[in-house]
């Protein structure tokens, strides 16, 4: 499946990101920046597609974002390249839309955390039982969606088909379910 390239070990690439950034900052060699960008170009393209909806426009946008990147990389101190790039791309797309319609942009300095990094992997046993208990407490739609998605590893589409919920509903249930579980677990830990 062509999209498999999307799956990456997140830690590994983040380190190399740092290295490439540093290299560009030191040598000014654009090739380093290009390598870095290429790793995320498919994501940038996808985001542009989502907002701009047009393939040609999106392609141009990807190149334009690269130009902005060149300028901004030297100006800003970037902690997490991937998230920073995400915000950059999204803002660019929103700006493009705004010149067509009128829409709000989001602050560029928002730093978004990648959940993958932050979850500590210890205390598993306890968490699992707590998790089970919390899950039981969820509203049924959320519980079902979480079950089908995480446990049974089904795609959104499949879940939608099985449950009769719309795709957006499925996503929404999963999202809200996750949030509730998180709250519940935290409460659990406090005890």
């Amino acid at each position: 499946m062509p999209l498999m390239k999307f799956l990456k070990g997140s830690k590994k690439s983040l380190d190399s990101d740092e290295k490439l950034l540093l290299e560009y900052r030191q040598t000014g060699d654009m090739a380093a920046l290009a390598v870095l960008y290429q790793q995320y170009m498919h994501l940038v393209f996808g985001v542009c597609l989502k907002y701009l909806k047009d393939e040609e426009l999106s392609k141009d946008a990807v190149m334009q974002i690269f130009e902005e990147l060149i300028v901004k990389v030297t100006k800003h101190d970037i902690k997490q390249f991937k998230s920073w790039l995400y915000v950059l791309s999204r803002n660019y797309c929103l700006m493009q839309l705004r010149s067509g319609k009128k829409m709000q942009t989001e602050a560029l300095d928002e730093v978004m955390e990648l959940a993958g990094d932050l979850h500590p992997d210890n205390e598993r046993e306890e968490d699992l039982t707590a998790l089970e208990r919390c899950k039981e407490k969820l509203p049924s739609a959320q519980k079902l969606s979480i079950q089908l998605f995480y446990i049974e590893e089904k795609c959104y589409k499949e879940i939608a088909d099985d449950t009769g919920y719309t795709l957006n509903e499925v996503k929404s249930y999963i999202q809200n379910g996750k949030r509730n579980l998180k709250i519940c677990l935290e409460k659990n830990r406090e005890r």
């Binding site: 997140s10 654009m30 170009m41 999106s58």
Partner: protein, 376 residues
Amino acid sequence: MHRLEREAQDDPFLMDALEGYGLSNNDQQDNLAELQQRLADRVAPKKERSILLWRVLPIAASLLIALTIGYMLFKPTSDKQKAAMPLVSSSTPPAPADKVNVQPDSAKKTVSASSILAQNHVPVHHHLNRPQPVISAPENVVGAISSIKDDTAAYTARNNAFYKKGNNNAANVGQNIQMVDSYGDQAAIRGGNKWTGANKEASDTAKTLTNALAGRVAGLSANKKELNEVTIVGYGSVQKREVTGSVATISARDTVAQTMRQAKITSPIDSTMYLAEVVVPGYADKAKSPTRPADGWKNYLAYIKQEAVMPDNSVGKVMLAFKIGKDGLIYGIRILKGSTMAINQKAIEILKNGPVWIGSSVNKEIKLKIKFHKGD
């Protein structure tokens, strides 16, 4: 797919991207490949140089060609001039025609020796090639000009058949010279040209010029100043609005044709729309001139047009200059530029036999161009 979605749960960037791809059913592989290429092109360093080179080469080439042409134009004159000079000074046979030829021919030749060509204004350049005997200012300025071509020598020689040498008509010449712009005189003498370097040649030229002019052209005193720096003043490519005795307005077209044809004398110019054209110096609009045909310009020109047919239907153009006295009589007719003997003759007759003129105290020379055409 599930795996992606799973990962997207934790990665908003991925989440958005997946949504984007989900919007269309097309496979985006080609687009992604294209983007890879564009990025690579964008970052590639070397191309800039070769692009620069591409731009520089044609410019350099054209420069080189221009220089070569310039050099070629420059060079031959110094050789030819020596040949031309003796030719001109020895060509004194007086001709039976009653037109005036003034020395400027030789003046022209000698002065033009200076390889000033390339630096002259084009219009000036053109003037040289005219076989004109005229004394009017630009003609003298012409002296300062361009390439001497052997043609010109032949040209002059041939025209000598029409024109008398200036000696006899010094009076006329003197008269005519007076109305010339003063700078015109100077220009002729000095060889009107901006020229740095090769001063020796310039002063030699000045000497020969003075010799050539000495005693030949009344009213012109040779200025023995060294040719160090000479400028043509006021003779740009903009034509004068007020015609003060110069041929500027009329002859421009002729001279252009001249240079194009290199000593072909009969050079009908297609651009002339009028079969007769009159210029009254000092009056851009001849209707305001006090000196005019008694019956009006319109009728006069109509008469000319009607008469300008040869019995043998030959065509040609004649430029005449003449004056109208206070009594309205025509005098001082001369041919500035002629066609065949027969046509010139006829032109003069047309003028003489034409409608009467009203004279005035202003006695400037009027120029008339008659274009002979085939009869109906």
